[in-house]
């Protein structure tokens, strides 16, 4: 399987100050890279930098061998990223938000794809609700649905388990695993040992020094043992 994402000597942080150690990692198609660490360790900053949402302090990030450019059309086509951005069009319904993404990515039969995602994320009953009328967990589901409805060769998820009920977490882990099985690469930032064990093939522990472990060790580190 070819390498989808490569990070070499990557330093991330704010105002010139790194928040964690140097990140060196690569994710091949079909792999799920778990990223774990304590609060404030810099996991989300690493994820945001890998997704091109934030400039790195130093080092390179490449997707399919090319340096990332979040404004380039091919990059936007390849990379799907879901962060905890609670930003929605206030007057668009759940269904309309998903339709927008489906159409913007030129999916065949967007209506059917939207119905499938609504079904999967348990949003059928709320499909005509505007974001303000949704619960926090439902808004999270909508963001995840938007990230997963579109094709991508690299999926970056920042703590996707947050605000989800246990049943949805299990469904999500199956979905992530299926995405990897279909040849997609996944970067998964998580605090959930079960989700990590069910999906990840390798695991980075973010701290002052960034180290690679197998998912079992990563899950133990999350659990604090």
């Amino acid at each position: 399987m070819g390498t989808v994402l490569e990070a070499e000597g990557l330093l991330v942080g704010y105002a010139g100050a790194p928040v964690c150690g140097e990140v060196n990692a690569s994710v091949a198609a079909g792999d799920v890279l778990g990223i774990v660490g304590v609060n404030g360790a810099g996991k989300s900053t690493v994820a945001r930098t890998l997704a091109g949402r934030q400039a790195s302090l130093s080092g390179d990030v490449k997707v399919h061998g090319l340096l990332i450019d979040p404004d380039a059309v091919p990059f936007r086509r390849q990379v799907s990223a879901v962060f905890d951005d609670d930003l929605f069009f206030p007057s668009l319904t759940v269904r309309e938000h998903l339709l927008l993404v489906a159409r913007g990515h030129s999916l065949d039969d967007p209506e059917t794809r939207v119905e499938e995602e609504l079904e999967f994320f348990g949003l059928v009953g709320r499909s005509h609700a505007i974001p303000d009328a949704l619960s926090s967990g439902q808004r999270r589901r909508l963001l995840l649905a938007a990230g997963l409805i579109r094709p991508s060769s690299l999926l970056i998820l920042d703590e996707p388990e947050q605000r989800l009920d246990p049943r949805m977490r299990v469904a999500l882990s199956d979905r992530i695993a299926a995405h990897a099985k279909d040849g997609g690469a996944v970067v998964l930032v998580t605090h959930d040992p079960q989700l990590l064990l069910a999906t990840a093939s390798t695991c980075l522990v973010i701290d002052e020094e960034v180290r690679e472990f197998d998912p079992e060790q990563g899950a133990s580190i999350i659990a604090g043992s």
């Binding site: 979040p70 404004d71 059309v73 091919p74 936007r76 086509r77 799907s80 990223a81 951005d85 930003l87 929605f88 069009f89 206030p90 007057s91 668009l92 319904t93 309309e96 938000h97 339709l99 927008l100 993404v101 159409r103 913007g104 990515h105 030129s106 505007i130 938007a146």
Partner: protein, 509 residues
């Protein structure tokens, strides 16, 4: 890279996404707004605009009449050792306004996306031009219209001998110049030039544009700026899809924050929004001074406030420019009426004072931090007021020193100016801690009709004492000498304002 065909498809797809979003939003809004509501909105807006225009027109015409007959009026200065030709002054003012338009446009984008658009649109693999251009074109059109409306009264007041057609041509020329200012900002946003080149090019272009409205006795100046604007617009429109996403989001965030604050008429929030784009806070400035050991919480707080002031306050340029503006108004050929000269001094003082309130505005957001210190709130407020008072005392001393040099009054005026500065500096803290206007509070019935007293009180808080602090100084300038009684009254005014500011606790929302 995308080839031409796929770019066209991508552009069409983006336009489809934008249309879809807008159509859905419109349908939703229509379903929630009745015709009655729309009529009331249109009526209120129409009435408000009509009343404002009538008041503005009557003020402008009165000012025009006053200026036309100014040969009979005096000046607050005794000697005019430098004569500034009138066209030079008005061209400088035009240039300054164009610079403000350009800077504002750069702070607010000018090409932007809103928060939701950044999440849902920018991640799509499509050409971004259809997403970015329609609101940008609206901004350009608004700037052109607004510039024409703003320049017309300016032209009426400053060039009383022009015909009506000349005034219209001058306004159209300025509208074009305003458009050019926004388009030059858009080119900076596109990263067309390096920072330095952008500054030089923009300044040179705007300087050329500033000269043109004064030459509007023929059609060529408006035609020239219109041609420049159209050319720049074509260049920007072609490349609008290449603005970095980060830039679009930044501009959108600042514009959204500033727009919402302006709608609520919350001046502090407007200033916070416009100041949020500042790239650098000099974290190293005065580090040694701060690191020196100190005793007691009050001294530690004063030191922290002084360091924060030195690190956060805007550069010296605006204060110096306001000083220069006062001088220019006084030295202009023919001279302005005394009341206009005094008004410019008050406006310049209020603007300079407002610039000194950055620290107070920032700390006002988190009053809980001040409550953590083992100090009486009045002492905390005293500490926060010291630096603005010192800075304004220096500024007012410089201004009154220049006025003394121009023979406006005797050297005692400098002492009056310094004291006035203390009161004006205290006003910045009062302004920084004012609560946003409560638009739900009912107006108070008065013999002149209902007055929104609560809202006016909130809007004028801070500005009230800043103006009050300048009154004895203005009296001295009007008299042309400084009686000891004026010095005494100024001292009492400034001390009183300082005490009122530090002893009154701000209301919390």
């Amino acid at each position: 890279m995308l080839n031409r065909e796929s770019l066209a498809q991508s552009s069409e797809l983006a336009a489809d996404v934008v249309r879809f979003t807008r159509r859905s939003a419109r349908r939703y809004k229509r379903s929630r707004t009745s015709w009655g509501d729309r009529f009331v909105d249109a009526y209120s807006w129409g009435l408000g605009i009509g009343v404002s225009l009538t008041m503005a027109a009557s003020f402008v015409l009165a000012l025009r009449t006053e200026i036309a007959g100014r040969a009979s009026t005096g000046s607050i200065i005794g000697e005019q050792w430098l004569l500034l030709p009138e066209p030079v002054l008005w061209t400088s003012v035009t240039f300054a306004v164009l610079l403000v338009i350009s800077n504002l446009a750069r702070k607010l984008g000018p090409m932007t996306v809103s928060g939701a658009e950044s999440t849902w649109w920018l991640s799509l693999p499509v050409d971004r031009r259809p997403m970015v251009l329609p609101p940008f074109f609206r901004k350009v059109a608004l700037t052109a219209g607004g510039s024409a409306i703003i320049y017309l009264p300016f032209s009426l007041v400053t060039a009383v001998d022009r015909t009506a057609v000349d005034h219209i041509l001058a306004s159209l020329t300025f509208a074009g110049a305003g458009t050019v200012a926004v388009l030059l900002s858009a080119m900076q946003q596109l990263g067309w030039w390096s920072r330095r080149t952008a500054k030089i090019t923009t300044t040179a272009a705007l300087l050329a544009c500033a000269v043109l409205p004064a030459l509007s006795w023929s059609l060529w100046p408006p035609a020239l700026v219109a041609a420049a604007a159209v050319g720049l617009l074509a260049l920007v429109a072609r490349r609008a899809g290449r603005v970095r996403g980060e830039e679009l989001v930044r501009g959108g965030a600042v514009a959204g924050h500033a727009g919402a604050s302006l709608f609520m008429m919350d001046a502090n929030e407007v200033l916070r929004a416009l100041g949020s784009g500042r790239q650098r806070v000099d974290g190293g400035r005065a580090a040694r001074f701060y690191a020196r050991p100190t005793r007691g919480p009050l001294r530690a707080l004063i030191r922290a406030d002084a360091v924060a002031f030195l690190r956060l306050n805007p550069p010296l340029a605006p204060s110096i420019l306001w000083l220069a503006a006062c001088m220019a108004i006084l030295l202009v050929e023919g001279g302005l009426p005394e009341f206009a000269q005094l008004a410019v001094i008050v406006i310049a003082g209020c603007a300079a004072a407002s610039g000194m309130g950055t620290v107070a505005r920032k700390t006002a957001l988190v009053p809980e931090l001040d409550a953590l210190l083992p100090l009486h709130p009045a002492l905390v407020r005293t500490s926060r007021t010291l630096m603005p008072c010192l800075a304004m005392a220096l500024w007012m001393t410089a201004l009154s020193g220049l006025l003394v040099l121009l023979g406006a009054a005797d050297p005692l005026l400098m002492a009056v100016g310094a004291l006035a500065g203390v009161g004006m500096g205290a006003g910045t803290l009062r302004a920084a801690t004012r609560t946003p206007p409560d638009w739900t509070a009912p107006p108070v019935e008065t013999p002149f009709g209902p007055v929104p007293r609560a809202q006016l009180g909130s809007l004028l808080r801070g500005l009230d004492v800043t103006i009050l602090a300048t009154i004895p100084l203005l009296v001295a300038l009007y008299l042309g000498y400084v009686p000891w009684s004026v010095l005494l009254v100024q001292a009492v005014f400034s001390a009183g304002i300082f005490l009122v500011v530090v002893l009154s606790r701000p209301k919390r929302t």
